[in-house]
């Protein structure tokens, strides 16, 4: 046990008190915050575990792709070595606020190793005017939210003016 003078002698006493204070602060914060993190991690684990398989797989895309079927249909229909183009009409109102800006980016992640191109025979259409892709355009899948997957057998086309990549 240290004497009281050991804690008060100048200049080392206040420094000793400072060390004890800082270690005690860290220890007290640990004691106070510890149960919260345990609880939080448990809650998050339960939420992750309760998720549907597809919700977990699409994850960050759930707020972007408007319809989970679209990404899986694209993956099933577009060959792994093919190129594709994601076209989204500028007035497309499906999805949410992230859809316009991040849709193509999410498809790029999800469809790899398929390659995104400005012009391609495979087109993922969000709110497009399909007639613009010509009479050869074959709609291979059409989902809710005005989403289609189109193949143009005759070859790549220039994307419509109202579309963007």
């Amino acid at each position: 046990m240290r004497s009281s003078s050991w804690w008060t002698e100048w200049p080392t006493g206040p420094i000793r008190i400072g060390v004890v204070f800082l270690v005690a602060t860290a220890t007290i914060v640990v004691v106070l915050a510890y149960p919260g993190l345990l609880r939080e991690a448990g809650d998050e684990a339960s939420a992750n575990s309760a998720q549907a398989w597809v919700d977990r797989a699409v994850a960050g895309g759930n707020g972007i792709v408007a319809n989970q079927q679209a990404v899986y249909a694209a993956r099933a229909l577009i060959p792994a070595d093919a190129a594709y183009h994601v076209a989204i009409a500028s007035d497309y109102t499906g999805g949410d606020e992230l859809t316009q800006d991040h849709l193509a980016s999410y498809f790029r992640y999800f469809l790899m190793p398929r390659r995104p191109e400005e012009v391609a025979a495979w087109i993922v259409c969000y709110g497009c005017d399909l007639a613009e892709y010509g009479p050869d355009a074959e709609v291979l899948w059409r989902g809710d939210d005005d989403i289609s997957i189109v193949h143009v057998p005759s070859g790549p086309l220039t994307p419509s003016p109202g579309s963007r990549f």
């Binding site: 200049p11 080392t12 420094i15 000793r16 400072g18 060390v19 204070f21 800082l22 270690v23 602060t25 860290a26 220890t27 914060v29 640990v30 915050a33 510890y34 993190l37 345990l38 939080e40 991690a41 448990g42 998050e44 684990a45 992750n48 575990s49 998720q51 549907a52 398989w53 597809v54 919700d55 977990r56 797989a57 699409v58 994850a59 960050g60 895309g61 989970q68 079927q69 899986y72 249909a73 099933a76 229909l77 991040h102 980016s105 999410y106 790029r108 992640y109 790899m112 190793p113 390659r115 291979l140 899948w141």
Partner: protein, 552 residues
Amino acid sequence: MRGVSDWIDALRLLGLAYVAGAVVTGSIWTLLLIAGAPFSFGLVLGLPVVLTAAFAVAGRTRRRSLPRGGRLEGGSQLVVTAIGIAASGLLLEALFRPARLSGLYEFDGWSFWVPKAKAIYELGGLDEQFFTTLPGAVYPPLVPTLDAAAFHAMGSADVVTLHVQYWLFGVGLVWALAGLLAERVPAWTLWPFIVLLLLAPRLGRRLQIAEADMFLDVVFVIASVLVLYWLLDRQRWRLVVATALLCGMVLTKREGLLLFAVLLVASLVASAREWRSAWPKLGVMTAVVAATAIPWRIWYVTHDVGGEGPADGFVQGDRFDLLGPAIRRVLDVLFDVGYWNVVVPVAVGAIALAALARVGRMAVFFGTLLALLVLGGIWATWVFSLTGEGYVVGGNFVIRFLGSAALLCVAASPLLLSAVWAKVGGTAAPSDARPRRLGLAAAIAVVPLLAYPVAAVAGGAPRFPTRDECSRPATTDAPDLEVVYGRFDDPRAADDLLAKLNAIGFIGAEIEFDACARWKVSYDAIESLEQGEALAAQVRDAGFDAQVEHDG
């Protein structure tokens, strides 16, 4: 290479060995990729084997023997160590649970870090199209390479299980840091800060995030501690391992270059009095790190990717109006307890006490390093900030960058406080005089680590979801019965089956996208198991598959 005297020493340094091994292996993989080598499973498996064999031969040549025996220091230190191991281990166990089944939600994760990893895994190298057009194209590919190696090990680009790799990096960080600091810090000072690391929201909760920030910070802080130790005791292995880690750091993110510069300057300042002996070795370290950094920079320059520096120059005269807001933003973030808890104020207090107690080199090193990190953060915030409506000065960048400063504070605080304590006469009693309490310490460390998983499992067995989990065979008391004719990855196959069933008179079936991302053809107007079995039998007689399931 260092040699370990006993098993306690080996156990203490195991975390450092893991982090160093991951960084060295990842760095060599990365350099091979840059050189154009295909990233095959053979390379993923072969390089660690070759490195292990090479280091074993080198250790043998240097007459390193296997560790023998080992004796734990007894007394209250041992009990506190046991409490610390239990507390941090329990948190790591808790963090493993959400990591195991976490989807890839992080924006930068799915936007470019993991796509780069998928490109390496799927296409076998640094595919020019993806690596020049993905966001963050200028970032070096070490972390995506480690991710791609994990994909090879898992057999698929499993972005959910990938989070476990990041959790393992977190375990490596905690272990390496605790093991290194334990050399100089008594247990009562060490463990509160190690646990605090896990509790700080932007540190502990982000260990399993599939991005490169935490990995960068981990490597930087461990390398910093090793460089400091080298400055203090000049054991050569410390500088060798630090150099290896810093090579990995400059292959991780562009901030790695800034962090290296900051660490180098702090090391030069802290060793100014012995510059004749220290600076040449720091020069060699710099040369090795630069040689490792250059190939990636050649790769992106030759592939027309924009540079890592600010587009308008390192000093931007037309942005001086942003300097004040940048300084405020950096200080606000640095002292925000919502991000780092009390880690930073405690470290600042520790530096102040160290200066008062004239602890010397350690205070100079950490003080300079922290000051330079803050200045670096201010500079980067000033020159890189996007401006205009909707933008916050520094944005998310400054929070990411200052993670390195906060993590450094976690390492600095216990080192400084224990050095101050020793300097002002608070030295503990000799360890041999104390009772050993080995049994008590073992119980304290092990029981909670075993009890937590048992308690978690008691609350419900862990799930191991697969894509087949949506197929649930019916039982007599199951709700929502249906007869399922098939599940398909391709929606056209589902359409075909439905058409065939309709053609032979099985009317009423529908196609539905199920929770396992397959198109399901089923008939759901089933009242009872018997009715369902009868319908399924008829469909099977007609040459199709059918099974009664429940949808509940």
